[in-house]
């Protein structure tokens, strides 16, 4: 054990020993989150010995990646004090439009999919940043619009059945030689870039600043609307990208494909310690939040309970986690 590690260790012990467990969790919430994640994993291993192995971990990563990517956009938006309720519709639309354009080739099809995200993000951003509509209402409206348009589009395109290209299938369900899921190869760079941008760049600082006090930012001469516009476009693009991975995993483009991702995308951010009122949090917490939710899902699948019960338990545990978290950080 090196000297530095020892001091850190002794400080942790001192904090815990001194009745400071709560204060430790309060200042280092990520520690609490990781502990919770490990507790969940341990719980699985105790209940079903032998479940947790390399394949299981690799599968968890595979399932967590699309959620992590949607939640990445949600984190960016929530840091500024907003919320994006259109992510699920955008992900579905992106996947569907990509699948119906697969005859053009993989790259153009993917561009079409991401294009959906870009357009919706631009509309969201314009409304919220320039016309000052509340994010909740704006994204609710664009979500409804996207969904409606998609249904109309799907009926027009009846003859041309959506087909998921092999490349997307590999992306959403395949694994590399070492068991590393392909979608992790997409998620990891996104995660690194977002964490770096939030911690090291002026843009990242501005997101926190706007979330803290957007009025003050305006008075300080910051063009808040530009940041918000870019932010909402980024969020929708990430949702669109996640949609492509999701459809790769299920291999069939449906109109309710990504609906189930709306609640987890918000929950992962909240559990991950980002305040819905903005200005506080970060992406590393969201990553752990997404992993916790994925493992939770896996536990509930192992329990082998009927789908409605699973849904109830999932929601109840999210509520408990969010409540505990809100209490802890006050």
């Amino acid at each position: 054990m090196t000297g530095q590690a020892r001091t850190v260790f002794s400080r942790v012990v001192a904090a815990v020993g001194g009745g400071g467990l709560v204060s430790l969790l309060r200042t280092r919430t990520i520690v609490a989150l990781i502990a919770l994640l490990l507790a969940f994993v341990a719980g699985i291993e105790v209940a079903r010995p032998g479940t947790v192995n390399a394949l299981w971990v690799s599968n968890m990563m595979l399932f967590a990646a699309p959620l992590g990517i949607v939640a990445a956009g949600q984190t960016l938006v929530m840091l500024t004090g907003g919320i994006d309720l259109s992510v699920a519709s955008v992900a579905t639309a992106s996947a569907y439009i990509m699948a119906t354009h697969s005859a053009l080739g993989v790259a153009p099809a993917i561009l079409y999919g991401l294009g959906v995200g870009f357009v919706v993000g631009l509309i969201n951003g314009t409304g919220i940043a320039l016309l000052r509509v509340q994010p909740l209402v704006m994204t609710l409206g664009t979500g409804l619009m996207t969904e409606g348009m998609l249904v109309v589009y799907a009926q027009k395109k009846m003859a041309e059945a959506p087909r998921v290209p092999q490349f997307i299938e590999d992306l959403g369900a395949g694994k590399l030689l070492g068991g590393i899921p392909n979608d992790l190869v997409v998620w990891a760079p996104i995660a690194i870039v977002i964490i770096l941008v939030l911690r090291r760049t002026g843009y990242g600082r501005l997101l926190y600043a706007i979330g803290d006090n957007s009025e003050a930012c305006t008075l300080a001469g910051i063009r808040v609307w530009r940041i918000l516009l870019v932010n909402y476009v980024t969020c929708s693009l990430l949702a669109a990208a996640a949609g492509l991975i999701i459809v790769g995993g299920t291999d069939s483009a449906e109109l309710s494909l990504a609906e189930v991702y709306l609640l987890p995308s918000v929950a992962a951010v909240i559990i991950g310690g980002t305040s819905i009122f903005g200005g506080r949090g970060g992406y590393s917490g969201t990553i752990i939040g997404a992993l916790i939710l994925t493992v939770l899902n896996s536990i509930l699948t192992l329990l082998d309970v009927p789908e409605p019960v699973r849904q109830i338990l999932y929601g109840a545990i999210i509520l408990l986690l969010a409540a505990a978290y809100t209490r802890l950080t006050g």
């Binding site: 409206g141 409804l144 109309v152 819905i276 409605p308 019960v309 109840a316 999210i318 509520l319 969010a322």
Partner: protein
Amino acid sequence: MTTPSEAKSSVRASTAASNMRLGPRLRQSLRRYPSLFFMPALLIASLAITVAVHPQFSDFDLQSLAMGALPLAFAAAAQTVVVISGGIDLSIGSAMAVANVLAASTMEKASFGESLLLAAAVLIVGAAIGALNGLIVVLSRIPDVVATLTSGFILGGVALLILEKPGGGAPQEFLNLGAGTLFTSWLPNALVLLVVAVGVIWIPLCRSKLGLQLYAVGSDRIAAFRSGVNIDRTRFVAYIFSGLFSAVGGLGLTMTTGIGAPLAGVYYTLSGLAAVVVGGVSLAGGRGGMVGPVMAAFVLTLIPTDLIFLNIDPNFGQVIQGTLIVAIVMIGGFVEARNRK
């Protein structure tokens, strides 16, 4: 001391004065509640458009309009109470689904009398669901958007648990409460039910101290607190009323569709919120009334109907709904910004 004649003349003068003040007062209330004027106009306009594109508009069309708008109007009413108190409830659709399947699965073989008792039980369950939502929001301090989004998810599971697939039923007399007509075929029961239910629940509420507290908490929480309003209790009560209205909406869904469907409610959360926004209730809280959202529910129901008459894909209705919400909020923000100057 004043003589009787003097007193009489002074009374007359004061009536005259109040008559004179009526003009500016009307204008003032219009400025304060633009939806008071705007919503009836919008409703009449959309009715006129419907009659224009579908000249053979009959009593049957009116009945199907009232039946179509009934659940949505209650969803809007449920949302309105919470939004006025400065909160939001994203679980309304699922709460309606629970009430809907609960009613349809228990009433299938019931007599009319029993079904009325069951309906009362469903209302109690609805209020209990609302109370639970209120407790979660008030006690856990989880932001209301997240808390009700999650509880809506849970309630969706509960609805599926009660009734896996669309089914069930209710006695014909009970269905007639929402599907039949009263006196003439131009007066659908659905309309009567809506007016009576909203009136019986809302009018006493908004006239009471509690109603005033709802508005106070919604418009300025700190000021309300300093005036001695119990904020937590008021928000809690708002959610109870939201649950109650959702349950009425769920019963309305049973009456108008005749069955219970565990997934039917999903649509009503977002559309109900759309009706609230279109109906002139400020999402910032503390402003708006019940008439606007209920009328907006009719307007939103008319849109897809008109599209069908015009031979346009009715699914554009959702697109128009989304556009309408955004446009109205934008116009509202614009007007407010101009008034402030």
